[in-house]
Symmetry: C2
């Protein structure tokens, strides 16, 4: 059987464009009640029984039998040994990627993550103190979606932020460890790792057990159980985002080789069948060329079945009236990855309001950004770029307001606070301000 991939072909001028476009974009984040119930039970059990519960679930779900959680702990020397055991090309690539990711996040910290303060005319000091979290947990999926690059992308911003301890959890079904994942943990500065996963790992990090220390925040992607568990422990600890399927949107003016764009669409589609690849372009002949490249290149891809399923089920090639319309549609989608594959990307970039990451120009393939350009590859999916941001140093910092009202300032602020507090019926608030007034 020959595989073929035909993303849905649409034109914004066709009468049913809106309906077809909406249907193709639709993805439901609805939660599964059975999973929710199961996860609630696991969380409660780990909270109650600690290590014993984690061991039991690890035995049951990962087929991994251990006498105690110490046996599932990886100390820094074991992470280093994994690194030392890699082929040199992988060692060098990991280190080079880590170095670039570190540099970018150091720039990010400098640009937006430093403490600041000022004094007003009355001598009152106002500001904000920025401090790192004490201890964070990083969830790393095992099995088919075990990505060492995700270890770098989660741990390095935490490390740059100055987090004291970075605890990694990674399931190792039947005890099979991924050396690249452990090596990445070493390169990224992970403090300690536990080879546990699922909701039980999230519970252990959120509540702490005799062996696993309680953390302040949990980041990193996982399956439906992990996502449900993270949502439930939110409040006890911080969490990053709840990720949906991955997406790419390519905004093309027709100047990039069609093969490059086809391969970029593939590189999203190969993640999983639910991943979404969309091309927006005002040039119909170019869209034809991309479809032709898809047909030609698909059989050469090892993951062609996943790619075909993704493109056929969720992909779209959309012919727009012009680039401006393409930008407007992109803003409606708020894609996770947005390639501006144009000879003049800076003309279009200011029109683009919502996206996790914007890749400018023909040479900026999403994959370069995924691995080593520097910016984070943990990005808001499913339209959540409307209100959320890439994982960053700021996710591993928190801010405290600083206020030092001078004696003179208290004379100015006191009467204002007093009027407003009385207006709200909070007389102790008013009196506290009034007590600071000089007679």
């Amino acid at each position: 059987m020959t595989l073929s991939a035909s993303p849905l072909r649409l034109a914004t001028t066709q009468a049913d464009f809106e309906a077809q476009f909406k249907a193709r974009l639709h993805w439901s984040a609805d939660t599964d009640a059975a999973i929710e119930q199961r996860v609630a039970e696991i969380l409660a059990d780990v909270q109650r029984r600690g290590d014993a519960a984690v061991l039991e679930y690890t035995r049951r779900f990962d087929g991994l039998d251990a006498p105690d959680l110490q046996a599932l702990t990886l100390q820094p020397e074991e992470l280093k040994a994994a690194f030392d055991g890699l082929p040199p090309a992988q060692r060098e690539a990991l280190q080079a990627a880590a170095q670039r990711v570190r540099s970018y996040h150091e720039a990010q910290k400098k640009a937006s993550g430093e403490s600041w303060s000022y004094r007003d005319a009355d001598g009152t000091l106002l500001g904000q103190k920025v401090t790192p979290l004490d201890r964070v947990g990083i969830y790393v999926p095992g099995g088919k979606a075990a990505y060492p690059s995700s270890v770098l992308m989660n741990a390095i911003p935490a490390h740059v932020a100055g987090v004291g301890e970075i605890i990694m959890v990674v399931p190792t079904p039947r005890g099979e460890k991924n050396p690249l994942v452990l090596a990445a943990a070493y390169v990224a500065g992970v403090t300690r790792a536990f080879t546990v996963g699922g909701a039980q790992a999230v519970a252990a990090l959120a509540y702490g057990t005799a062996t696993v220390p309680a953390v302040d925040k949990i980041t990193g992607p996982g399956n439906a159980y992990v996502a449900a568990a993270k949502r439930r422990v939110f409040g006890t600890v911080g969490i990053d985002m709840i990720a949906g399927p991955s997406e790419i949107l390519v905004l093309a003016d027709g100047s990039t080789p069609a093969d490059w764009v086809a391969m970029d669409l593939f590189s999203q589609a190969e993640h999983d069948e639910l991943a979404q690849s969309i091309l927006l372009c005002p040039d119909a002949a170019y869209i034809d060329a991309v479809q032709e490249a898809i047909d030609r290149l698909l059989p050469t891809m090892p993951r062609s079945e996943i790619i075909a399923a993704s493109l056929n089920g969720r992909g779209a090639l959309i012919h727009t009236r012009d680039m401006e319309e393409a930008c407007a549609i992109s803003n409606r989608i708020a894609p996770e990855h947005l390639e501006v594959s144009s000879a003049d990307p800076h003309r279009w970039e200011p029109l683009l309001k919502h996206a996790g990451a914007i890749f400018l120009g023909a040479y900026t393939s999403e994959s370069l950004g995924d691995y080593c350009a520097g910016p984070n590859h943990v990005l808001p999916t499913s339209g959540t770029a409307r209100f959320s941001s890439p994982l960053g140093v700021y996710d591993f910092q928190k801010r405290s307001s600083l206020i030092e009202v001078s004696a003179a300032g208290a004379q100015v602020l006191g009467p204002i606070a007093s009027v407003l507090a009385h207006g709200e019926g909070l007389q102790a608030h008013a009196r506290a301000a009034e007590l600071r007034l000089k007679p």
Copy 2:
């Protein structure tokens, strides 16, 4: 009957300090299954029936009957009319507070909310673009906890961030509007308001109805139903934090008049019976003086019953070995409000790692910060200052990574990405990078 308030008196040197301290701090954020179920039904109903469902719940829960949602809409002119109708002292106080809150948040935007980028040696551009959210919803409680100052604290950062539309919802049980709340909405730049509340208002903002526009993020405090609804719509829209009871921790060296500190403890306690006021001090005689001030001042307070209930049930006066130990205990609590009531507050501030807002020196009563010093009064509660931050301009912005890999940069990055992508079994990622390599 004479009311009395005796916060639990503890000393860190006593044998059972740990147990007593933990018991007093304990507060459970556990959710109520009945509320969860009810909220899930309301959300689903509003998603399905829109305006009709919102009207029905408003009739049932708020005793407010309206023919359609237009009748529950407040346009800018009505907000302005409420402002114009206030006594001059309230008008001036609102404006003065708004001005200071605006200045602070403008400084915050400048310090940490601007776009940035740089080019590396290969000419590759890396950066982050910061943009405002398009449209946000602000939940404002009605009834006994209707705080106009909260309107300022939620809407002004959104306005400073550059949010296009700020939609406010505020329940008005039996149609009773709070003029100060509407006036604050006018001063803070709210675009439009709806007099609806509860889970139905959260649902309308998250999903949109014929009359209420769907927003990108919902902020603001509410009761258990509102909190449960916000938690459930998280992902469809952004939310701020889920707030617990309010808390103050006063770290005193004994140099501040005891009456001032007693009143500061009251000003937290008067919020509600679950609010928590804690004093940490190395000077036992000073703690006696504060208790004496509590006894003397309590009968003079209009909200003395709430204050007494809060202090008796959750308050604590803790005698510490020294100020260093007091700082360490404060870090364990990670309080929402932290007053450093010391003659030398800058000596202790560097030791304080976790707090929503830090109030330095005797003149900086929490109430001045609550209303008009400038920083936000929406702060992380219940120890969540370990990982979260005051509401700020950054909550109404999102970031997009910017990457423009130069042709030269692609030659350096391509081989790194290729090795790592092959290591993860993602060949399309590798090929996309390899296609950009020059022969």
